[in-house]
């Protein structure tokens, strides 16, 4: 059995070697590499290099729009980055992250769409014209606030619970949000959903020049811009006092408390920040689609959110982004296998976890921990 451990070790080593070599480069080379990467991200929807067009999802018959798929990928990357704060940085298992995503989506839907019962009620109350609705930027703000508040409200009673209990309680929270959105039809229209959700350019319309209905490239560029901003923001956070506190709490809560780090406070922060990021993702999702209904916010999707963080490499933003990208991209690109794609997806998930339990691109710290654990397992022959 020790062979299987050794078999994966070189992989870890190779990945780390690439990472180390990258970090060893002079700063200007790294900056150049980074700029080139960002430029590539912006170029991606136009991808026309012969040979590489194979990667486009509209390359196949019955495939989906390439820019549209990239947009969805970017949204999921945003979700992964937010959830990574909760799972990867603070070490809290949140299975109900979809709830915050839903709150973000409903934030812009309920206040921004002329079809929403909330907007209609406000129109009636204040004698506003039937075309009036809250502007997109304000909706974004409302949605983020709502998501953060709900993050705190959920975290307050539950964050004192231990890991596995937290998992089921958060899963329940996600379900409660979905069921409320479905059942309180007088506020949310229930399963009939809300249409005509605005984007940055106002309500969806054929006359929109930038954020239109058919050409989705601008939407992708908007989303990837949000992703880059959030990556920068979370990176700063990770290396700040808050980030170090999360690390301490994740590694050993009691020790952290003794050293004067209040675990509860920092966990709550992680929840609120993660929730806000999920909310942003929800807003963009709802805006591009211009329509939402509660069916999208099901527990299975929520669990898949966690899957993309763990498969990608919990704690490493590059890793979780890759996880999110693959989760959306693979089923879209391989539509050819139609009915079998989720079977293949499940098999892939199991294989990745067995062969690379640390994730595709693990965080350096996590990979080390894992090596230690594996070594411990080897040292204790009684287990075998």
């Amino acid at each position: 059995m020790s062979q299987s451990v050794n078999a994966t070790a070189p992989h870890v080593g190779r990945m780390e070697a690439v990472g180390d070599r990258w970090r060893a480069l002079p700063k200007w080379q790294r900056s150049l590499g980074f700029v080139a990467f960002v430029a590539f991200l912006y170029y991606l929807p136009l991808l026309g290099i012969p040979g590489l067009t194979w990667f486009r999802t509209d390359y196949i018959q019955g495939g989906s729009s390439w820019a549209g798929t990239l947009f969805t990928c970017a949204i999921y990357v945003l979700v992964a980055i937010g959830l990574n704060v909760v799972i990867g940085l603070a070490g809290l298992l949140d299975l109900g992250y979809i709830g915050f995503f839903a709150i973000g989506a409903y934030g812009v839907g309920l206040f921004g769409s002329v079809n929403s019962p909330v907007v209609k009620a406000i129109q009636e109350r204040f004698d506003l014209p039937a075309t009036w609705a809250v502007g997109w930027a304000i909706c974004l703000f409302i949605a983020i606030t709502l998501a953060m508040v709900s993050g705190v409200l959920l975290g307050w009673p539950t964050l004192r619970l231990r890991g596995d209990y937290l998992a089921i309680v958060t899963l329940g929270f996600g379900e409660i949000i979905r069921i409320v959105a479905k059942n309180v039809t007088t506020v949310t229209n229930g399963n009939a959903g809300i249409s005509a959700i605005p984007g940055p350019e106002g309500p969806p319309s054929a006359t929109n020049t930038v954020f239109g209905l058919i050409d989705l490239k601008p939407w992708y560029w908007l989303a990837i811009t949000f992703v880059l901003i959030m990556v920068f923001f979370v990176r700063r956070l990770e290396h700040s006092r808050v980030g170090r506190a999360w690390l301490a709490v994740r590694e050993d809560e009691d020790a952290a408390a003794v050293m004067g780090v209040n675990p509860f406070k920092f966990k709550l922060w992680a929840f609120a920040i993660g929730a806000a990021l999920g909310g942003v993702a929800g807003v963009l999702f709802a805006s591009r689609q211009a329509f939402i209904d509660p069916t999208k916010f099901d527990p299975m999707t929520s669990i898949l959110f966690v899957a993309m963080v763990v498969v990608g490499g919990s704690g490493n933003m590059m890793g979780v982004s890759l996880g999110a990208f693959l989760l959306v991209y693979l089923p879209e690109r391989f539509r050819g296998v139609a009915d079998y794609r989720f079977l293949a997806f499940g098999v892939a998930m199991v294989l990745v976890m067995i062969l690379r339990p640390q994730g595709l691109i693990p965080s350096r710290r996590r990979a080390r921990e894992l090596k230690d654990r594996a070594a411990e397992a080897e040292e204790a022959p009684a287990h075998v």
Binding site: L161, A307, V384
Partner: protein, 330 residues
């Protein structure tokens, strides 16, 4: 709010809730056994149950069972179904342990990795029963192929036992099926409890649950214990699958997810890792759901269940009975 209905028919709702909760409890045992020993949430357990419903249905199809058969045939169908269901589910659980969990245990992977692997396994099983088997056997013409003739759709099976009123006290009537579900679930849980608490094997399980290293030093074969708990938990799910088929007579490749979620909730409610907790949690959840659905509307059933879970955990952070397979752990 419909208090009159709840109070007026309180006995009946209690009976309904208990027979609903008994099935939750049986499935919850699988979560609790695995958690008690390995400290991991076996998310694929819901699919172990699903496989059981298919196995039992397959057995009945092979027997050529018709609606409301004579009593003798019904008893044979139930007994054979129980055996096949328990073997199929136990075998599935064991296979999952071997293929997915064991390699991870060798690497001492963190719990989250087990969770995601389990989700992957779940997805695979659901898709195998929803797509792969129908593609392979859907129109092969065997008797059994009716199981897979309508991929992903709800499948109905014959009613084995006609539902009849067994006895009535006041306004409360108990049907034969409800009684069988409840009593047999209790019996199986009692047997399992005795097994864990009184036998040599059970002592091994408790020892590993309490302290794996010491147990190993004392000569307990940890791998055998782990195999044992997966088989036991799976067999209980198989038994639950039989009771489910007998009571409801339908299955589907996705039948496990919601039920598994509820059973896991029940396990946590009672105190995960605690066998009696699974029983208490299951029955409690069944009652809460039926009372809640009566009081409000069935569409709020899950919300009520989860709110009750949060409230219980706020006051008792390790569930109603606390978590321990042997004794309390810090």
């Amino acid at each position: 709010m419909n208090f009159d209905e709840l109070i007026g028919q309180f006995g009946q709702h209690t009976v309904n809730g208990l027979s609903k909760g008994a099935i939750y409890a049986l499935i919850a045992l699988g979560y609790t056994l695995v958690y008690g020993v390995l400290r991991l949430i076996n998310f694929a357990h819901s699919e172990v149950f699903m496989v059981g419903t298919f196995a039992v249905f397959g057995t009945w199809t092979a027997m050529g069972l018709q609606n409301n058969p004579p009593l003798g045939t019904a008893i044979i169908a139930l007994v054979v179904g129980l055996i096949v269901g328990a073997v199929a589910s136990g075998g599935t659980a064991l296979a999952i342990e071997r293929v997915a969990y064991r390699p991870l245990r060798k690497k001492n992977a963190p719990p989250l990795v087990f969770l995601i692997t389990a989700i992957g396994v779940s997805l695979v099983l659901v898709e195998v029963f929803g797509v792969l088997l129908p593609k392979l056997f859907g129109d092969s013409g065997f008797t059994m192929s009716t199981l897979f003739s309508r991929p992903r759709q709800l499948l109905g099976m014959p009613t084995v036992l006609e539902h009849k009123n067994l006895f009535t006290i006041g306004d409360t009537s108990v049907t034969n099926v409800q009684a069988i579900v409840f009593v047999s679930a209790m019996l199986m849980m009692f047997a399992l409890d005795r097994f864990i608490n009184k036998t040599r094997y059970g002592r091994g399980v408790r020892a590993v649950a309490q302290n794996p290293e010491t147990a190993a030093l004392m000569g307990v074969n940890q791998e055998r214990v782990i195999m044992l708990i997966f088989v036991l938990g799976g067999a209980m799910a198989g038994a639950a699958a039989l009771l489910w088929n007998m009571r409801f007579g339908v299955t589907q490749n996705t039948i496990g997810f919601v039920l598994g979620l509820k059973a896991f909730t029940a396990a946590v409610l009672g105190g995960i890792g605690n066998l009696r907790g699974a029983l208490v949690g299951g029955l409690f959840l069944g009652l809460v759901e039926v009372y809640g659905a009566t009081l409000f509307s069935s569409q709020w059933e899950d919300v009520i269940a989860f709110v009750v879970l949060v409230v219980v955990l706020m006051f008792r952070p390790t569930g109603l009975l606390g978590e321990s397979l042997g004794r309390a752990r810090a």
